[in-house]
């Protein structure tokens, strides 16, 4: 059953690509509006040969990784603080709820103004997009520690810190990983949109430059690279979840 399910999905993708190819060749037939999958692949090949693609991927990659890692570390730390201290939670919660509900991506031009056209304005945008899902998930994970399991440890005379290390932290791990997984997509959006507002290089810059010159194959080439990065990283995280927190599988 699983096997046939996977082949149906594959068939769906291949079929979709064929329809796309057909529409752009015979339906629209105008390279200014739509690029066919074959043209996109060719564009990626050309960009890779010229070396442009690698330069863009490198810049965007550095921006993403810096922002993502900083957001992950800070997010987990703040989540821990909020779960452990009610005072910290009371102070931070309204800000976090408020900022999380705000489309902070709209602040990208402001960060550009403050930090300039280089990578740091993008790093900050990635951080603001990733950090809140990490904070919220970490905090929720720590707070939902089973009271029955706490009692089991207490029956052996466990201290607060033993309960934290032996129980709360491992039982929060699936939540933290889920938050980090959600952060991948959000972080990629952050990089691209921040680069659209102003940058010297990067996949977002490639998109905006290609759009300005009506070069649809190059524009889609950047989108395909981004999509691939997102899919690969999310799949990597799913694999990591299976290894690290196998007990959450049913």
């Amino acid at each position: 059953m699983r096997h046939s399910g996977a082949s149906v999905s594959l068939l769906s993708i291949v079929g979709g690509l064929l329809i796309w190819e057909g529409i752009s060749r015979f339906g629209v037939d105008n390279a200014l509006f739509l690029a066919a999958p074959s043209q996109i692949l060719y564009a990626i090949w050309q960009l890779a040969l010229a070396g442009d693609l690698w330069r863009h991927i490198e810049i965007s990659g550095i921006e993403f990784i810096l922002g993502y890692v900083i957001a992950a570390i800070l997010g987990i730390a703040v989540g821990l603080l909020m779960a452990e201290s009610n005072r910290a939670k009371r102070i931070l919660q309204p800000w976090i709820s408020g900022i999380y509900a705000t489309p902070t991506i709209a602040l990208a031009p402001l960060f550009l103004l403050w930090l300039g056209i280089g990578i740091w304005s993008k790093v900050i945008v990635v951080i603001t997009l990733v950090i809140f899902t990490v904070i919220i998930n970490t905090e929720a994970g720590l707070r939902t520690t089973s009271s029955r399991l706490i009692e089991m440890l207490r029956s052996f005379g466990a201290s607060r810190s033993q309960i934290f290390w032996k129980l709360s932290l491992p039982s929060a791990a699936p939540f933290v990983l889920a938050g980090l997984k959600l952060g991948i997509g959000r972080g990629l959006i952050g990089v691209v949109v921040a680069e659209l507002f102003g940058s010297r290089a990067g996949l977002g810059q490639l998109i905006s430059q290609s759009a300005d010159s009506f070069n649809m194959p190059n524009l889609f080439a950047a989108v395909v690279v981004l999509a691939t990065a997102g899919i690969v990283m999310t799949a990597g995280f799913s694999w990591l979840e299976k290894r690290l927190v196998p007990w959450t599988r049913d």
């Binding site: 029955r148 089991m152 039982s171 791990a173």
Partner: protein
């Protein structure tokens, strides 16, 4: 059971417990000798689990005292091993690591404790399952780990809170014979809470029958049935007589609680 001239293994004197204005336990007094298997039975709401939790130190008393080997109980500790109604296993730990958690918390998880855990898992019938995870085990097997975990700290007294209540009838009977078999080997002092009268008679040397509103001791029944005990014992007239006697003691309370719960 011969009365000990020494301090009892477990001594409870004048124990009261209030939850707000609700009187949960009134003036509980009892003394349990070393190596006795004691059950507490009673209708729901008689405070039997509350009593066990106070002995464990998981709950504070409103008045009176609990002593183990003459020492006052104030908080939880590894002189008592608690077997919970739900197995409360840590899903990310193997059977072995789950069983070792008590010594680990107490800072005594040395090579000796590890050997002891291996032996205990053999004793409860889980030899060879050390590296399994809880999700790979049946309910009965998980309760065996629950028991081994409590025994791993080598407690002076084992406190068991309806550990077989969530199991199906057949598994429960098997676990009862398993528990008597395991108990015969070490003769640890056990305080066993249950609402199943036949379970209490089958396992115990003495049974404390609790009454409700407020929770108090109604009668102490000494079970004079030969050991070792096998399941066939449950069909003997002597056994049935004990069950009938205890049932009559709590019948009125149970009827009352059924009516109250219907309101």
């Amino acid at each position: 059971m011969a009365a000990s001239t020494l301090a009892p293994k477990l001594g409870v004197a004048g124990l009261d417990k209030y939850f707000g204005s609700l009187e949960a336990l009134r003036d509980i007094n009892l003394a349990i000798a070393d190596g006795e298997f004691i059950s507490i039975v009673g209708p729901s709401g008689c405070g039997k689990t509350t009593f066990l939790r106070i002995v464990a130190g998981l709950e504070g008393a409103s008045g009176g005292e609990v002593r183990i080997d003459g020492e006052m109980v104030k908080k939880p500790g590894i002189d008592r091993g608690f077997v919970f109604q739900s197995d409360n296993l840590l899903p990310w730990r193997t059977v072995f690591a789950n069983t070792l958690i008590g010594p680990e918390v107490a800072g005594t998880a040395d090579a000796g404790a590890r050997r002891r855990v291996v032996d205990l898992l053999k004793l409860v019938g889980l030899g060879g399952f050390e590296q399994y995870f809880p999700r790979q085990l049946s309910g009965g097997m998980r309760q065996r780990v629950n028991l081994a975990r409590a025994l791993a700290v080598d407690p002076k007294i084992l406190l068991m809170d309806e550990p077989f209540a969530a199991l199906d009838a057949q598994t429960r009977e098997i676990m009862q014979t398993e528990l008597t078999r395991i108990w015969e080997q070490g003769r640890k002092t056990v305080l066993f809470v249950t609402h199943q009268i036949d379970e209490a008679v089958f396992l115990s040397d003495r049974i404390f029958v609790f009454a409700r509103r407020p929770g108090r001791i109604r009668e102490v029944v000494t079970v004079d049935l030969p050991r070792p005990r096998a399941l066939a014992l449950k069909r003997t007239p002597d056994f049935v007589r004990y069950v009938d006697h205890i049932w009559r003691l709590i019948e009125e309370d149970v009827r009352e609680s059924v009516l109250v719960d219907k309101e």
